[in-house]
Amino acid sequence: MEHAYLGIDVGSISTKGVIIDKKNNILSSQYIWTQGDPIGAVKELVRLLEGQFDKEKYKIVATGTTGSARKLVGTIVGATMVKNEITAHAVGTTTFYPDVRTILEIGGQDSKIILVENGVAVDYAMNTLCAAGTGAFLSSQAKRLGIEVEEIGDYALRSTHPTQIAARCTVFAESDLVHKIQMGHPREDIIAGVCNAVAANYLNNVGKGKKIVSPVVFQGGVSKNQGVVAAFERTLGCKVIVDPNGHLMGALGVAILARRGSGRQEFDFAMEDMEFRTREASCGGCSNNCEIICVYRGNELIDSWGNRCERGARVH
């Protein structure tokens, strides 16, 4: 049996999974919405991945998780590698684009920039805890304008006179947008304006002070939006590469890290039928009242975290 490696990226908005072989060829891949239920999303993801996967020929010997739910999901799937999304994206992208110099990434609640020299990430920046201008903003504005988030790009490309939208803060951008709607600006111009605002906001905040050198690769859910891609190309004055698998880059990166790592644990697809639940417990050992998350498989506690000190380790 040949060895294969599973990478799972559970973000705030979407859940991504890939299975790769030793040479990083994709054997199976999936992209679904998280919908506020990372455990349910991962079970569904695993079920879909299993459908495309040749279990006679391959076995999964290592599993990596990344994204904001990496720890929870890592516990559930028995991950051999749990890595933050920045590292996962850097590893994934430099594997497929060894010449890349700048990686732009806009996800559901985070945005980041990674600068690469000679295939090695040398500097990065990430949005502060504020999520202005990320995918969450785009999807709420799409809803407000009565279109699907997937349609934003097509609308934006039809616009010839993008409306100016205040880019600094999501709350201001939203009130500005409502004002522009009421003033009678055409919908495609407003949508193009929102896309420009996202690009401008990104470059002024996350990209501030960073030297953006070509080749530039743009990824994360928002890279699927042609309007934002066009806005970046116009502002940066260079081509922006969007990989057809760009949305999978975090999952690919963490699958590669799992392959390179020393941990080995055969992945069991049976987890999709198991019952997992989490419970929040308050420690009460001192006035900090740490919020401790306990993860159960059936009735068995498999992991817990959130305690600031040892006292919390006893609370289940």
């Binding site: 999304e85 590292t87 040398v122 990065y124 805890l129 002070g209 001192c286």
Partner: protein, 309 residues
């Protein structure tokens, strides 16, 4: 009848992290007792947040929580006004306003407060301030002056020893990260401690830009900015200037929203080049995930660079 000992309350926040040896020795020399509030916990943070206006910085919110924890537990609580040590040597305006602010917030508590004022631009030096403080507590000017001298000596010795010990860390072999932060941010269990403890678990040596010889740091700070007006920021700038080549990365750590840091951190990112830098802003949200993701990836970048990942 035996004279009752006066007890002075010291809130464990803001300038406590700078002046603890000075204050404690001074009051001790005058035969008084000091009581320090316990390290920040969630109660203190929540109480402070309830007492402060929304726009106040996290550090001030925590400070008010510590003051509240001392109310009724001592004869008076020390809340100094430290304005400046001369031209281009200002403290954050926060430290000018705290005595008025605290008196106003706790006006109905019945608690007595004690203050001293340092404002070199108005010719109010620290020594005179402490002599006045001693006199207000019933000491003679002579005794107060003597206590101040002893306290100053203790302060210098404490800082010197600390700096010397800290300098040894630069000689270690592991990955080293220099943290630029105010002492009351980096040492507080609810702010910077989460960061330094995370780094420790990750096997990284965390160093502090502010733990340097202060006079030398003030001089070096001019190389980065001749006009920066904040004393503590200048110590940090000087520390960075002295040690930026000895470390693998720099973390700019602030409590939200910090006026001086908003400007000085921007200055640092523009003028200090060639070393990976992470800008980390802490606020009172209890989730540490955002902070951990940023720290983990920052350490990964350093390891990447060294080919260790």
């Amino acid at each position: 009848m035996e004279k009752q000992t006066i007890t002075i309350g010291l809130p464990r926040a803001l300038l406590y992290y700078r002046y603890a040896p000075l204050w404690k020795t001074f009051f001790q020399e005058l035969g008084m007792e000091t009581v320090v509030s316990s390290p920040t916990d969630r109660d203190i943070l929540e109480q402070g947040t309830a007492l402060a206006i929304d726009e106040a910085c996290l550090s001030l919110k925590i400070y008010l929580g510590h003051v509240a924890a001392l109310v009724g537990r001592c004869d008076c609580i020390l809340v100094p006004r430290v304005s400046n040590f001369g031209r281009h040597r200002n403290m954050c305006t926060r430290f000018e306003s705290t005595p008025d602010l605290v008196r106003s917030v706790f006006r109905d508590s019945g608690q007595k407060f004690l203050s001293y004022e340092v404002d070199e631009e108005l010719k109010k030096g620290e020594e005179e301030a402490f002599v006045e403080l001693g006199k207000a507590l019933g000491s003679t000017a002579k005794a107060a002056k003597k206590a101040y001298k002893a306290a100053k000596k203790a302060e210098a010795a404490f800082h010197k020893e600390r700096v010397q010990k800290h300098e040894q860390l630069y000689k270690r072999e592991n990955i080293k990260v220099l943290i630029a932060a105010h002492s009351y941010v980096i040492e507080d269990p609810y702010m910077g401690r989460a960061v330094t403890e995370y780094l420790k678990r990750a096997g990284v040596i965390s160093l502090r830009a502010d733990l340097v010889d202060r006079e030398a740091a003030l001089k070096h700070s001019r190389e980065l900015s001749p006009t920066c007006k904040w004393e503590i920021s200048r110590e940090i700038l000087g520390g960075i200037q002295q040690h930026k080549d000895d470390v693998d990365g720099i973390i700019l750590l602030s409590a939200f929203p910090c006026g001086p840091d908003a400007m000085v951190n921007e200055l640092i990112t523009r003028r200090v080049k060639g070393v990976p830098m992470l800008n980390l802003v802490l606020d009172s949200q209890s989730g540490t995930a955002g902070v951990e993701t940023r720290l983990e990836s920052f350490i990964d970048i350093i390891r990447f660079k060294e080919g260790k990942l």
